[in-house]
């Protein structure tokens, strides 16, 4: 006996829309069972995971801070993935942007001017875009696989940052610790709302998401991206250039990841350290797919994923569970999203014997 997936002739629109909701519900049920097995009250557990972080103002700010880089990167990635360019290296572009943007506050730290911050943001986007330009060039002109090249460049970026903060950029007053000097106030991304810590990175994330949503929906460029992504041949007949699309999508997503990087460094960390991201560039891939590659969906997905991080901490405190439970929870979410998606498009068929298949083939 074996199991086969058979494509459904028609995909239910209702269920495709409901799929993330079903996945979330399933995650809650199975998460609840997990807590029950751990000897915790599942209701309090789920409450501290999903409700508690939303009940206080400061916590909402933390949610926005955590979600900002995920959304910003995820939105850029959605353009890439829709156009069939598999940029896996957003983590590296994030770091490249952070490094490029930090040139001003670290190397030219004596320059105090209102121009510093805008220039930093521009440099950050430029840094991220240039770094994404490497796999773009390799794919467009040498036909290499961008999944491999962009992924490998992540390690290059991480090690380069590591080398910088231990070497030339190390804080002269930092007792040899591997970190740069802290940024001057002119180089710090200001807070958005008076009530808390949320910096403008979150604002950029929302603006970017809305702008990309508009582009995808109402402009010719958006149409071009979709057509080339779904059928390269059809796109070529329409006069669209695959090569230009590689450059466009990679540079755009690189620039957004770079912006996320410099916004995070300037708004939240205020210095460069050997590690500046707990894997935002990779988590954003999950966010992009969880949001259905739709920029507005990605805002929601980014917030949901950020919530699981914050909820994980709240649960550690109120229930005394290990932080591994958070990882399991995130895993459950992704598992159910993917399986719901699959089951909406395909149905499971049990095939009792292989013989039928071979027999018909034999008859031909």
């Amino acid at each position: 006996m074996r199991i086969e997936l058979e494509r459904r002739p028609e995909v239910s629109r209702l269920f495709s829309l409901l799929s993330p909701v079903i996945a979330l519900a399933l995650m809650m049920i199975f998460g609840g069972i997990m807590f029950l097995l751990l000897g915790k009250n599942p209701i309090t557990a789920l409450y501290s995971f999903f409700i508690e972080p939303l009940m206080e103002v400061w916590s909402l700010h933390e949610l926005a801070i955590k979600a900002a880089p995920l959304i910003l990167i995820g939105v850029g990635l959605s353009v890439c993935y829709r156009s069939n360019n598999w940029n896996i290296g957003a983590e590296g572009q994030f770091i490249a942007g952070a490094i490029a943007g930090s040139i001003l506050p670290v190397v030219f730290h004596e320059w105090h001017s209102p121009l510093v911050l805008p220039l930093m943001l521009l440099l950050g986007m430029l840094g991220g875009a240039l770094f994404a330009g490497i796999p773009a060039f390799l794919k467009a002109h040498l036909n290499t696989n961008e999944i491999l090249t962009s992924l490998m460049l992540v390690y290059v970026a991480q090690l380069f940052l590591d080398w910088l903060v231990r070497g030339y950029w190390r804080n002269p007053g930092g007792l040899n610790f591997p970190e740069t000097r802290t940024f001057d106030p002119v180089a710090v991304l200001p807070e958005m709302i008076a009530s808390g810590r949320t910096h403008w990175g979150f604002g950029f994330a929302i603006l970017a998401a809305v702008a990309i949503w508009f582009m995808m929906r109402y402009t010719l460029k958006g149409f071009e991206i979709t057509v080339l992504g779904q059928s390269e041949r059809a796109g070529r007949f329409a006069g669209f250039s695959t090569r230009k699309m590689i450059w466009f999508s990679m540079l755009l997503s690189g620039a957004l990841a770079g912006l996320a990087g410099i916004a995070e460094v300037s708004g939240a960390i205020q210095q460069l350290r050997p590690v500046i991201s707990p894997g935002y560039g990779f988590t954003a891939i999950i966010v992009a797919f969880l949001g259905r590659l739709n920029p507005l969906g990605i805002i929601v997905a980014g917030l949901v994923l950020a919530l699981t991080y914050l909820g994980g901490e709240a649960a550690q405190l109120s229930l005394g569970v290990s932080d591994k439970v958070t990882r399991v929870f995130q895993g459950l979410l992704l598992f159910f999203v993917l399986s719901c998606d699959t089951l909406i498009r395909y149905k499971i068929k049990l095939v009792w014997s292989n013989l039928t298949g071979t027999a018909t083939e034999g008859a031909h």
Binding site: I65, D162, N176, F177, I269, Q316
Partner: protein, 356 residues
């Protein structure tokens, strides 16, 4: 009806009162860990300290912790969450939490903070550290006795004064036994990475060292040493389980004594912002049992430990030369704490160039 209401109201009042009373009685002490509480090294030592605190103060104290908190913005959030959840005293147990702790301490003046191994204080922010280097000195002497080749391997984390101090103390100790003793250093550039630490251990053993010590947190180097049949020292926690036939001794961090002392002061309303730097005599670090060595070496180690404990022996006492041969301390001169805390040079006998 009125009676029922009255009864309800009294019950509510009693419940409310007792809740308030228990909250006031119990000091809530919280911990932020950089690693997993079962890492077998640094964080586990802090968590054991927390458990000791609970045992010692019983009903008077309630503890909570957050583990695997990354340094950076996540640390700030974690510390703020604890401050908001009613913690009165918060210990942040990694150097990298320094700036985050400073920021949150400024925001919550009524909460007391203690940051391990840092140097920034505030009226409600104390720092605490341990004189790990005292244990390193003993290790150095043991290594010089045990090593056939006169070369030890040292897996170091970051070139910060704390680590440089340990390397120097080890060499100074070793050279009291064998004046030609040398150590080779590999910078793993991590506190916690079993893979990198194991690689560093292999590289050192391949270069011919026959005793290994580490200033990183996992048991990986100990396991490699066990596989290759050489001896090694544990770090932060007793690692004898990872190398029953390998571990000579280990510097065991016993933060419990400090946590109990400070929490008691907090409960008594006598907590003050201090910069504490205790050593073997205060019980903040202890040496794991001396094993896998001849009796005379064990006796020597115990004697040295007793001397350090009594204050008779201070590891950084001249005559000592820097790596380049220039004089550092004259005979009988002892380095002061300020010099130690900013240490950025090697003493004679270190076969490495300090990353600057």
């Amino acid at each position: 009806m009125k009676k029922i209401l009255f009864a309800l109201a009294t019950t509510a009042a009693v419940i409310g009162f007792s809740a308030a009373a228990s909250a006031a009685d119990k000091a809530k002490v919280c911990f932020v860990y950089v690693g997993s509480k079962t890492d077998g090294g640094w964080t586990q030592a802090h968590d054991l300290g927390r458990q000791e605190l609970e045992k010692a103060l019983g009903d008077k104290v309630e503890t909570q912790f957050l583990e695997n908190v990354p340094e950076g913005p996540d640390a700030e959030r974690a510390i703020e969450r604890l401050a908001r959840s009613g913690c009165g005293l918060i210990f942040t147990t990694s150097f990298g939490f320094m700036d985050a702790t400073v920021k949150i301490a400024a925001k919550f003046p009524d909460v007391k903070f203690e940051h391990a191994t840092g140097y920034k204080t505030a009226p409600n922010l104390a720092t605490y550290n341990s004189r790990f280097y005292e244990g390193r000195y003993i290790q150095g002497q043991i290594a010089a006795k045990i090593s056939q080749k006169g070369v030890a391997g040292y897996i170091a984390s970051f070139p910060i004064p704390e680590v440089v101090m340990g390397i120097n103390s080890f060499v100074i100790g070793a050279r009291t036994i064998n004046p030609d003793f040398k150590i080779k250093v590999v910078w793993a550039n991590t506190w916690f990475d079993p893979g990198k630490e194991a690689d560093a251990a292999k590289a050192l053993i391949d270069q011919g060292v026959d005793v290994l010590t580490q200033h990183t947190d996992t048991t990986a180097p100990m396991q490699v040493a066990a596989e290759r049949g050489i001896k090694a020292f544990g770090q932060a926690s007793d690692m004898v389980k990872a190398g029953p036939k390998t571990q000579l001794t280990a510097i065991v961090d016993t933060w419990g004594a400090y946590y109990i002392k400070r929490t008691q002061a907090f409960i008594d309303g006598k907590w003050e912002s201090t910069s504490s730097w205790d050593g073997l005599k205060d019980g903040i670090l202890t040496m794991a049992p001396y094993t896998n060595m001849p009796d005379d070496v064990k006796a020597l180690a115990e004697a040295t430990e007793a001397k350090i404990r009594s204050g008779e022996l201070k590891p950084f006492t001249g005559p000592l030369k820097k790596q380049d041969g220039s004089e550092w301390l004259k005979a009988g001169e002892t380095a002061d704490d300020g010099t130690l805390l900013g240490m950025n040079f090697y003493v004679e006998g270190v076969d490495d160039k300090l990353p600057q």
